[in-house]
């Protein structure tokens, strides 16, 4: 119990401490303190996952019937382990990267607060706790988006705020109804709706479910509420973009997992119009995101569009509600998390050393920064889905699950669109590799200079790359673990 | 119903007066007429109270001839209420008139709608 509390509140309090203390303005002090905080939080999260698995407790009562309640289950383990690894890696990456940005104190302060809030989201044990921290997440991550204070960044931050708040309200609106038609709001595998309500008020509850799914999927960038994502993610400093794109959007995915499988229950939604519309929306998003990424010239924006597309892979898997596809969805959560954070960190390393942002300007970059570009290439292959990388395994399960499900049309349309989108993914990720390593005959091969960034940047990159490959090489224990989860919730 | 209305004609008149006053206060655009409406409305309520408080043949509860029976006297509270009400109404009317004078000095009109249009054009 204490480890849960500590892993939530230690980073939050540490962040507040960084924000308010004057002596943290000194860079050396700041980095040492922040580094220690990262390590301690990492240890706390690991300790929580090892010791507190299966425990739960109530922090306080918001109102009489609505406790702020935490519990740690298998889904929490998946999400919080991923959050922890990516946050710590991107955090250490920032130590070098943030040299050329200002206001580092504020950056690390909010970075730690977001870390704590994300842990709370992973450990939230009921819908109201989840909602509370969902809103907190929006508010605390906004300073990361508008970090550099330019007009563009601030407008992007406010757009992000507005979309997220509206999404959260759609969810809140549903919570009122769920309160009424369920025994409790505690996440329970298979759903909490009372059986009488589920049969008597099916129509109403389906509308409610749809509104709530739409609300949570704003955070996950599903069409038609995706517009904030390509605006907000690229303007943040690169490590912040990495966590925004790799982890914070997963809060929306986690919300949908909790909602669909732990509040409404898969059996309630399977075969209804909600599932059909949801499937259509996810497939549109998959295709559209890839298309937009393909046409985008700025590297970080391209990666943000790619996030839009890839997240809907996950949502598609969840929407099919078949054992295989849901396993695939969870796997893709992990694979996409590690891959996308690596991609953004690579982009950050490139911007940090060369200052160039557009793909076309980066000819020969592979000669200058070979290590970074190798990481980029390996994870790109993963995102496209070429074995033996992580992306392959997850997409395999997604496709198998979809083909094996009994949903008409979508069971084959889904894999087709996933395949087309994979081709597009190759089309938008690989040009950088090709230009980078084979800049063409007119490139001055004699005079480029090696400018690999320092170890603060390369080591996190390597760790994340290795993890993303490991998922693909040794998927069995992970798949077994996920299959166990899936068998309880379906 | 009709018979009740006839026996309680005082109360009926009070209600009609209240309606007239209420309508004037709400609908007239001339401020002085509004204030007149206000006074009619208040007076109607006093009439209603006085009418309710009075029972024919009884007198105010001042024990002069040693009669202490309840049957002989009326309830004095409504009259007291009327007095209090009059005080309130006077002060409110005075305040309204003062405000009217201020507005008239500023805009040279008593018509509230006209003042509003002037204000919309002229800002503060």
């Amino acid at each position: 119990m204490y480890s849960i509390l500590l892993s939530i509140f230690f980073p939050v309090l540490a962040g507040v401490y960084l924000l308010i203390r004057k002596e943290m303005a000194d860079r050396r002090n700041l980095l040492i303190t922040t580094g220690i905080c990262f390590v301690i939080t990492g240890i706390l999260v690991v300790a929580t996952l090892l010791t507190a698995h299966g425990t739960d407790f109530t922090l306080f009562y918001l109102t009489q019937s609505l406790p702020i309640y935490f519990s740690v289950d298998a889904v929490s383990v998946i999400f919080s382990a991923m959050t922890m690894i990516i946050f710590v890696c991107a955090g250490f990456f920032s130590f070098e990267y943030m040299k050329h940005e200002t206001k580092e104190k504020r950056y690390y302060g909010y970075y730690l607060i977001v870390f704590g809030v994300l842990n709370a989201l992973c450990f939230a044990g009921n819908l109201i706790t989840f909602y509370l921290f969902f809103e907190m997440l929006t508010l605390s991550s906004m300073p990361l988006v508008l970090h550099n204070g330019s007009r563009e960044a601030i407008m992007a931050g406010l757009k992000y705020l507005f979309y997220s708040l509206c999404g959260a309200y759609a969810a809140l609106f549903g919570i009122y109804f769920v309160c009424k038609y369920s025994d409790s709001l505690t996440f329970t595998a298979g759903g909490v709706l009372t059986s009488s309500a589920a049969t008597e008020h099916t129509g109403l509850l389906l509308i409610v479910a749809f509104v709530m799914i739409l609300g949570f999927s704003v955070k996950a960038g599903m069409f038609p509420m995706h517009a904030w994502l390509p605006t907000a993610h690229p303007v943040a400093p690169a490590p912040a973009s990495a966590v925004l794109s790799a982890v914070i959007v997963k809060a929306g995915v986690l919300g949908i997992v909790r909602l669909v499988y732990y509040i409404f229950g898969a059996s309630f939604l399977r075969g209804t119009w909600v599932q059909t519309v949801w499937l259509i929306l996810t497939l549109i998003t998959v295709f559209m995101g890839s298309m937009l990424a393909y046409r985008e010239k700025v590297l970080k924006k391209r990666l943000a569009y790619s996030t839009v597309s890839q997240l809907s892979y996950i949502l598609f898997g969840l929407a099919v509600m078949d054992a295989g596809s849901v396993t695939g969805g969870f796997l893709h959560v992990l694979a996409h998390g590690f891959i996308k954070s690596t991609l953004f960190l690579c982009a950050g390393a490139i911007i940090y050393t060369t200052g160039k942002t557009k793909v076309d300007e980066l000819r020969g970059i592979g000669k200058e920064m070979p290590l970074t570009m190798w990481c980029y290439t390996i994870v790109s292959l993963g995102l496209i889905g070429i074995p033996p990388t992580g992306g392959f395994v997850s997409k395999w399960y997604l496709a198998i699950g979809s083909l094996g499900s009994a949903i008409p049309v979508f069971s084959w349309l889904g894999p087709v669109i996933l395949l087309v989108s994979a081709l597009l993914t190759a089309g938008y990720l690989l040009p950088l590799t090709i230009q980078g390593f084979f800049p063409g005959a007119d490139y001055d091969y004699e005079h480029f200079k090696k400018r690999e960034p320092s170890g603060w940047m390369t080591i996190p990159l390597l760790i994340l790359t290795v993890l993303s490959v490991l998922i693909g090489l040794l998927p069995t224990p992970l798949v077994d673990y996920l299959t166990q989860i899936v068998s309880t919730i379906l | 119903m009709g018979a009740n209305l006839f026996t309680n004609y005082g109360e009926a008149v009070a209600m009609i007066l209240f309606g007239i006053g209420f309508g004037n206060l709400l609908l007239q655009s001339n401020l002085i007429k509004k204030i007149i409406g206000l006074n009619i409305m208040d007076t109607a309520i006093y009439l209603f109270l006085a009418e309710k408080g009075y029972i024919a043949g009884r007198v105010a509860p001042i024990v002069a001839d040693g009669v202490t029976s309840v049957e002989a006297y009326i309830n004095p509270v409504p009259s007291g209420l009327v007095l209090t009400g009059i005080v309130v109404s006077v002060s409110v009317s005075a305040l309204m008139l003062a405000l009217t004078i201020r507005l008239y000095r500023r805009y040279h009109t008593l018509d509230l709608d006209e003042i509003s249009t002037l204000l919309k054009k002229g800002g503060l």
Binding site: I154, M155, L165 | L38, M41, K52, S91, L99, R102
Partner: protein, 497 residues
Amino acid sequence: MDFIQNFPCISIMLCLFAGIISSGLRGKTARWLNTILLIIVTILSACTLLYTISTGESFVYVMGKFPAPWGNEIRAGVLEAGMALFFCIIMLLSLLGGQHKLMKEVEENKVFLYYVLTNLLLSSLLALVYTNDMFTAYVFVEINTISACGLIMIRQVGRTIEAAVRYMIMSLLGSGLLLLGLCMLYDLTGHLLMSNMKESVAAIVAQGEYNIPLIVAIALMTVGLCIKSALFPFHAWLPDAYGYSTVSSAAILSSLVSKGYIFLLIKIIYRVIGFDIFINTRIIDVLFVFGLMGMIFGSLSAIRENDIRRMIAFSSVAQIGYIYMGFGMGTQYGIVASVFHILSHAATKSLLFIAAIGLTDVSGGSRKFIELTGSAYRNKWAGVTFTVGSLSMVGVPLFSGFISKLLFAQAAVQINGKMLPALIVLGISTILNAIYFMKTVIRIYTPVEETSYPSVTFKDMKLYAVVLVFFIILNIILGISSQPIVDMIEQGLAMFA
């Protein structure tokens, strides 16, 4: 009788005397007197609150030596004392926060009058909260109206005088109806003390006589108080009155004066008519419908508005709609939610008014959105506070607005017939709130390249900044530790019965 039982009466008297004394003082001295008075009354109310909580029951304080049913009484329970305490705190913060602006907008030799009026207003509010006598309530309603009118027009520009006249007209219509309903009820029951009236009403209803006059009397009083508290179709006076008066007045009017009337209505519902009898009339359905309409139309008007003060004023219309929707639900939960919303709205709305003035001050005094662009950078404290207020208004958890929305929703799902309209309108109105408040927040945080307006720092406005911090703390307290407050409200309502 414990000595503490004198406190309600003492605080009313103190306010009245302070008002009288202030009329002979100079502006600054009157201000000091007013601040000290408010602090004293806050302490007295807090003592009363603690006393009623510790004894667990309300007490009746007989004015003079006349016993019931003839004399005049004061009655204090948890809810009354809590309300008085809360009103004092909000008033103190609003006055301190707007003090700087007041000195600029009111002529030097008239400042003392402002404090005379606020002292009278406070006394009338306390009397409305504490009194157990309907006619006393009526008299103090009128005192309240007159002093509120003075607060609006103390800033002498055409708009405020016009707004004051419109305010007076609507208020007089309302108090006329209240008085008429009161007289009819007196006629039916023969009493003026709330407790005695309630017994008689119960007896009348039990006998089945005088059904129509009773309903007419209830309707007249309810409508009268609705008009006075600016429920939806009666809100025409409100934007000008809140929009152009000096900022303390706007904060006090929106968060206290209208709430005083609503509290009186709650007292009438519980202490005079009886909750069940009130519910059985169709009046609650009317309140429900108008509450819902107010929630939508108030927000729509606020979205169209181009002036920050008037926008906040229109938002009040929507929030009053919430409160009446709670009444209209006709359950104990609904009333609890409404009472909590009275508190949360009072805390939030005064905060917004006070924060907005900080923003307009650094924008050349203009309240148009176009001029406010980037003002949050010029006055950081006001910017942050306004954002907190906006977040509370749109219902972000940890702020007070979220809890009241939650309570309304929880109350709504208990009633089958009214659940869907209430929840749908609650959802729509939340989104509308989010649109105009977030629009404003976005506007004040949009950076401008070049500005001719100077920035202010903490040193220029120490008092103002401290007040803002207190407002934020108050808001967060209501948002986090809502359960004890809700319990207190429930306890207080139980004491009413």
